[in-house]
Amino acid sequence: MEEMALTLKGTQQGIVLRPLSDSWDDVLQGLENALQDAEAFFRGGRLIAEMGRQELTKEKLASLRAILDRYDMELWAVLSDNEQTIHTARTHGLRTRLPGETVGMLPKDQSIAVATPPDVTPSGGARPDPGEYALVVQRTLRSGQSIKYPGHVILVGDVNPGAEIIAGGHIIVWGKMRGLAHAGALGDEHALICAIELTPAQLRIAGYFGRPPESRRRKLAPETARVSEGTIVVEPWHTRK
């Protein structure tokens, strides 16, 4: 694989783009490829360009917006240490700082409200890992319905055939997973899909596809799917101690 030109990361506030390459053309090309690969996921979302010291000129900004427009995405904020970039972003009506209050990043057609996560401040002694935030949804996800979220998704309920969850992180279903699940949709191969009954139409983790064997019985036994050596493997819960 070629050198990565950028990273994309799902956060509570939006998709964060961080250029790695000095060549803006490479960054744009990499972005375009990523958007193409997971179009359903990105569509309607918003982007935060974390430029670091790299300058974002008017021209660069216009070229970035041109790509985002095609995927119905919004350039929402530009974070930078560079005075000139901050100025350019401001004159284009963009945020240059993220608001303290976080808002869910969900495509427009989603009606799930996302609560503001509390500020987790570990107290006293050794600092425990504060963990990561997740979107928790409690309901049956029915045919034609979908949840798209840049972070982890926890669904308490069943995912019926014809429904889908697309998450930037893990997908945990406290119920039957019979629809489509795409974990690590932004490229995270370490993402997991766990369900009490894992009989999905299709599983995807990052760029990998998997389908349960046709003959699988419906058994109510928790299982976990993950990527191992380039394929998706499904393991019963009790072997993962």
Partner: protein
Amino acid sequence: MAGKIITISSGKGGVGKTTITANIGLGLAMLGARVICIDADIGLRNLDVMLGLENRIVYDIINYIEGRCRFRQALVRDKRFPELFMMPAAQTRAKDAISIEQMKSVAHEAAQMVDYVLIDSPAGIEHGFRCASAPAELVLVVANPEIASVRDADRVVGLLEAETNTPARLIINRIKPEMVQRKEMLAPEDVVDMLAIDLIGLIPEDPEILTASNRGNPIVLNNGSPAGKAFLDISRRLQGEDVPFAPLKPPSFFQRLLGSH
């Protein structure tokens, strides 16, 4: 007190909505209730044929909406039960000839007159379905025990939950007990498990249903048949009676010999 407005929907076409509307409408009338059945399948009307009232139609729902007739004139009285009426769909118009607001006002007007207003929804999840379900206090979702139909029913339940929060009950139609026994057909439990809504009716497959509909004498009038009883049971449950679900039995060896199945 205004009557209860109930819509019969399915998503997928041809699963038995109109048959069920006709039979439940008659069933409720047999139990002494006053009923108006509204055919909301504009352009594809069928309910009149199934109820045997085709040749009595003078005006239809669109005529009423357009102010060409009075409400009462758009109703066709049943020939068997004087308290049962049908409001026919227009046969010659497009599906979008009626708006959601208009459908609501027609249904509410009907509810002033009777105990039950049954609305036969068109297939699909577009405008026609939205119109038919908009006025409903309860939606009877019809599914056949097959994957595609169950999935479409699920879609309908999801839309109802998300948009109007209308309660839904499930009718499983065209069950073939012998196939369920051989595990060649989804069992009612599987369908209920998937859709996670309360069951209100289990109707077996019965070729008599078609011949009865064609004659305009819905099978519910023939109380002796299992399908007729299934429809009457649904009518009873709608009235609040606690009718247990009889297990559907495969036809006996003799019934099969007689060729009725």
